[in-house]
Symmetry: C2
Subunit: 406 residues, 2 copies
């Protein structure tokens, strides 16, 4: 029997206990041994919970109990979670986590600590919720040089954008509804400003490059400025608007960014709607592959944590391969990135100045019956070049500019 401790009895933590309980036969068969949740660490008590008798308040009980071989860190944050993870790994206890913030901030250090203590730090649940993506990158696409990763990595923003697209509703109305339904947090900033997607692409970029991609250095733009009219133009062009987190190799450098993008109707990410997530991976031999599923939610996320627990159980005393060095990856300045852009200007003056600034390469996009404004798609150009010209349109613009993902 292998004994486990769960840190934090919130949504994911209670899900972990539920998955191990409900799928007991399957989990034990795959683990090769019986798994038992011995402790649940939380500040609160849960007297009416069937597992209430396992709730403790002192982490040292877990740390000092040699029976505990695997710890699930489902607390979140980079404070106590960081300290507990370091202590557990130093004591040779493997840690499985859903905490993307901690993995993004201290991944290489915690992986090195695990290795030094012949145990494992696994984080399948930190990206894409229940979608297997960390393990496919680490164990399946091993014969590939990964050239690009493009993901819809945040369910809240994808839900909001899908809803805006389908109902023509504005951002604030949809956000409020999402908050009421529990799909968005009361303080939605981490989601809608792109910080959550940023941490996740930092993790995927690090695994792609084998070096550390610092999430603080990733250009990040959220969805708060997207308007219903943007979706009208998108539909007109047979496109959709998605918050994409992307990472790609450009020469010796790595481009990583998070931003809303227009994507075409034939792009596989186009059909990823609502709370679903997907990760699109391009390898130099395999070409394109995609991993799709529920990117959040209690049981999907818990299922991913438990798959890590099973992996740890099968590798007690052995270190599972993961290449993520502390060496900083060389990130590309996004000013140099070349792509096409969409923008909206006021009819008349705006149109005239846009044509003058951008020349012949502009493609006009008009909405039926719309006389106040007009949209344009540019040729492929550097971000900086576009930004300089866009700046010159101040006063005659009619909305935001959007990047286009080819």
């Amino acid at each position: 029997m292998i004994k486990i401790a769960v840190l934090g009895y919130g949504t994911v933590g209670s899900g972990v206990v539920e998955v191990i309980g409900k799928n007991r036969d399957m989990v034990n068969k795959k683990a090769g041994e019986e798994l038992e949740v011995k402790y649940i660490l939380d500040l609160r008590d849960f007297p009416d919970d069937p597992y209430g008798d396992r709730v403790i308040h002192d982490f040292n009980v877990i740390l000092e109990d040699e029976e505990i071989r695997i710890v699930c860190e489902t607390m979140g944050g980079v404070g106590a979670a960081y300290q507990f993870t370091k202590q557990a790994l130093s004591a040779g206890k493997s840690v499985c986590t859903s905490n993307k913030e901690l993995v993004a901030a201290h991944g290489p250090e915690l992986l090195a600590l695990a290795k030094a203590n012949r145990c494992n730090y696994l984080f399948e649940a930190s990206v894409g919720g229940g979608i297997p993506i960390i393990r496919p990158l680490n164990y399946s696409l091993t014969a590939e040089r990964i050239e690009a990763i493009t993901g819809i990595l945040n369910g809240t923003t994808n839900y909001i954008l899908s809803k805006m697209e389908n109902e023509g509703a504005d951002y604030h109305t949809v956000l409020k509804e999402a908050q009421e339904k529990g799909y968005a947090e009361r303080n939605p900033e981490a989601d809608v400003e792109g910080h959550d997607a940023c941490r996740k692409i930092a993790i995927l970029s690090s695994l792609m490059t084998g070096k550390n991609v610092d999430s603080n250095k990733i250009y990040t733009e959220g969805i708060t400025a997207i308007e219903p009219k943007d979706f009208e133009y998108a539909r007109r062009m047979g496109m959709s608007i998605k918050l994409l987190a992307l990472s790609r190799e450009v020469g010796e450098k790595t481009l990583a960014m998070v931003s809303p993008f227009l994507i075409g109707g034939d792009h596989p990410l186009h059909m990823v709607n609502g709370v679903f997530n997907a990760v699109f991976v391009r390898g130099n031999m395999l070409g394109d592959s995609m991993y799709y599923g529920r990117g959040a939610g209690k049981l999907p996320t818990a299922s991913a944590v438990v798959s890590d627990v099973i992996d740890c159980a099968r590798h007690l005393g052995k270190v599972i391969m993961c290449f993520w060095d502390a060496e900083e990856a060389d990130l590309m300045n996004i000013d140099e990135v070349e792509r096409a852009f969409f923008f909206r200007v006021k009819a008349g003056e705006g149109e005239a100045r846009a044509r003058e600034l951008f020349g012949d390469g502009l493609r006009e996009v008009r909405l039926p019956g719309e006389t106040e404004e007009c949209g344009f798609v540019t040729q492929t150009m550097a971000e900086l070049t576009f930004a300089e010209r866009w700046e010159k349109l101040t006063g005659v613009t009619a909305g935001r500019r959007l990047r286009i993902e080819a």
Copy 2:
């Protein structure tokens, strides 16, 4: 250094050698040791090939060379490939294969043989080409009870159906073109009659149930009877026609089948076009997830074989988890399966008799300007019930019947 032998220097075999060569740094890093192709077994000689000096004609050289720890079986078929695989595994050499026919026919026996000899029999490339699906099922979705797998598992038929859909062309014209382009074999029977997809779903079903699903017992229907007019009706209903291979748990039994299906525009498999493949998996905790990519082709398939080689290299002397017993799974008779059907009848007499036989539940589907015939969608009903009524429409039908995947 770990030495490898490749059996069969055809498309996939030469791809394996190419992937190991081109991605040498990555492959060796992931394998934890340098990999070297020492022998290539083929009946032919390749004097002008850069690896021509490694080509041999006698399998015993490989078998008797203790340096060879891993063998890639990329010959295909169930004759020599079966004998060589058994001999290699008996000698404690791991075998990695793309040979779905052999895996489907002798999987449990070969897995047991590998286990007894403390080596591994891996077959990631046997299903979905380069798409990681075997490893995600075996290592990632370990906390799940898998309830259903639905796949587009054959690139040739998906290419033909996509082309028929987009161009309104008939089956024979598109098949001929696919043969000229090399997307279909000169003898296309294994693909177009569904046998290839059948072997692949037999493998996935076996991994899903942990028991052996005999491909010979799987109901299999191909695409040769699909007509351009079927696509007109499909479009009218916002649907598409795909050759689906599916497996699901129904009570204590397993339903496995291969057949063309109408699927709705909001189903994620709807967007899987051309030579792409995808596998849709439903777990009891995770819900739906999907794995998408190139289901065939030299380098994608070879990449999957090499990922298996890397896995073997990292587990020399250890047995990698795979649950696929020799015990036969209890397959459900498809007569009992309940679903909705689409069918076409002649206008007038056919319509009248259809309404009489199927009653109020029928939904009519009319093509604009079509006066000769009419389509109907039934309510959910058992296959056998539908078949009995369909039989009674003999003489007034206007085309095939199609199953509908909800």
